[in-house]
């Protein structure tokens, strides 16, 4: 593991995040959240839906600066992000969407990315002509094309059918294996988290805190049903107690 301050290291020390609701009342979205990711580490945030996972990602991505605490990204950190929705520019082709986000990416890099993600035949299509699964792959391609130091994924495979989500997870594993990148993944699917991450960070209901940290013994390798069940059993009471 790299020492502190190495490229790709992410340190999060959030004290709290309030959200001003339409009624004028303050909602306490995030409680005290502190963790650090070493260079190349993949962490998965799991937690009940509505617990503030997306809010946390927005803060880390620099999209929300209205919070108490600090988030330190390495200087000149290049960020690659996959949002819950693909968020492509509908008026630009698949290739243009990727190139606009990653103007410095070489043709060879893009060719390889499109090949890996099965997008080679769709380079000149507009996003409106793609299925949701393909659009999500374009979003993945865009995030990888920038050669990110930090990759942030917000439920990237939600609302896809199981087989397709499985394929895309395999493609993601291939990409982070080929070029290790510090990655923070949000998911509500514990199995997905176990399959992708080095470490699970389990969040409570809002105001979210980290209630458990679960290291995965053999990250991104096949996990037997017993292993998965054991991890599930370990974090289920945490999620459960948080709900109570």
């Amino acid at each position: 593991m790299s020492p502190a301050g190495a490229p790709g290291r992410l340190e999060v020390a959030i004290k709290q995040k309030l959200f001003r609701a339409a009624s004028g009342k303050d909602l306490h979205v995030l409680g005290e959240i502190g963790f650090a990711l070493a260079n190349g580490e993949v962490a998965a945030l799991v937690g009940p839906s509505g617990c503030g996972k997306t809010t946390l990602l927005r803060i880390i991505a620099g999209l929300d600066r209205d919070y108490q605490g600090t988030v330190s990204l390495p200087p000149h950190c290049r960020l690659g992000m996959v949002f819950q929705e693909p968020r492509l520019l509908p008026w630009r082709t698949v290739e243009a969407n990727v190139r606009l986000a990653a103007p410095q990416a070489s043709d060879a890099t893009l060719d390889a990315l499109f090949q890996t993600l099965g997008l080679a035949a769709h380079r000149n299509h507009y996003p409106g002509e793609l299925s949701l699964g393909l659009a999500r792959r374009v979003a993945l391609a865009r995030a990888f094309a920038v050669a990110p130091d930090l990759l942030v994924l917000d439920e990237p495979f939600v609302s896809l059918d199981a087989a397709l989500a499985e394929r895309l997870r395999a493609e993601l594993v291939e990409l982070v294996t080929r070029r290790p990148v510090t990655t923070l993944l949000v998911t509500h699917d514990v199995e997905e988290a176990i399959g992708l991450a080095d470490r699970l960070l389990v969040l409570s209901v809002s105001p979210a805190r980290i209630v458990a940290t679960v290291p995965i013994a053999h990250p991104r390798a096949a996990h037997s049903a017993e292993e998965v069940a054991a991890i599930r059993a370990a974090i289920a009471p945490r999620l459960g107690s948080a709900k109570a």
Binding site: G80, M81, R87, L89, P90, L100, A101
Partner: protein
């Protein structure tokens, strides 16, 4: 298409019947107007006056659209600027075109600058309001995306913001063009020594209906050509990414 042609033929026939009933002086026959257009065209006066008027239309249209886009974008994106600019906008929107034209001529003299400024000022508030509406409906998700991927200002404007504004810009351009050329004629009538509006003013003083119709039709024809060969192809190009729907 045949329906359109039949309808057009019916219009000309009605015109001819009308001219028989009303008399040559009030409503000349279609062929008399055609002859007048031909005569003006041969003398070169038609082309000169049309070009002069078109140049004024183009100048004031471009100024109004450019400023309207900038103001609309700023006001749609920034709530404080919106509050600051709104009273001005409401005042301008409700000021009659004629008042703006007359004041422009009084303050700046009977000059080309005053004429073009007056037309642009008439069009500006409507363009601003339309673009502001578009700027208010910009997709925050795409904004976030552009910020995360550190897209530069120019890239954002060109590839993220302007395509979202395109339908609003097209609406502003369409309504703007038809408004601008009508106001240009009034500006020319009141204070310019040439152009279609000036010619129509002269014809009015001489009670020369043939000449009025000749210039009016020639000008409408030019605007139709611009609409068909410039505005419509541009709109098709801008919306090429939209999936074809029924």
């Amino acid at each position: 298409m045949p329906l359109r042609l039949i309808s057009l033929a019916a219009l000309i026939a009605a015109w001819w019947i009308g001219s028989q009933l009303a008399g040559e002086r009030l409503l000349p026959e279609p062929q008399a107007v055609a002859m007048a257009i031909w005569a003006e065209a041969r003398s070169g006066a038609l082309a000169f006056n049309l070009a002069t008027t078109l140049a004024r239309v183009a100048a004031s249209f471009i100024i109004a659209m450019a400023l309207g886009t900038v103001f609309g974008l700023l006001m749609g994106r920034d709530r404080n600027l919106d509050r600051l600019g709104d009273p001005w906008l409401v005042a301008l929107l409700n000021l009659p075109a004629l008042v703006i034209i007359v004041l422009a001529y009084v303050w700046a003299g009977l000059t080309e600058t005053a004429a073009i400024a007056a037309v642009a000022l008439n069009k500006l508030p409507i363009a601003t309001v339309t673009v502001r509406e578009g700027a208010r409906s910009l997709d925050a998700g795409l904004d976030d995306m552009a910020q995360v991927f550190r897209m530069g200002r120019w890239v954002r404007l060109r590839h993220v913001v302007l395509p979202q504004l395109a339908p609003y810009l097209a609406a502003a351009a369409r309504s703007g063009l038809s408004l601008v050329w009508k106001i240009v004629l009034i500006v020319e009538l009141l204070g310019r020594p040439n152009g279609v509006g000036f010619e129509i003013g002269i014809a009015f003083q001489l009670f020369d209906v043939t000449r009025i119709l000749a210039y009016a039709f020639a000008f409408v024809a030019v605007m139709l050509v611009i609409e068909t060969f410039l505005v419509q192809p541009l709109e098709r190009h801008v919306s090429r990414w939209r999936p074809r729907t029924a």
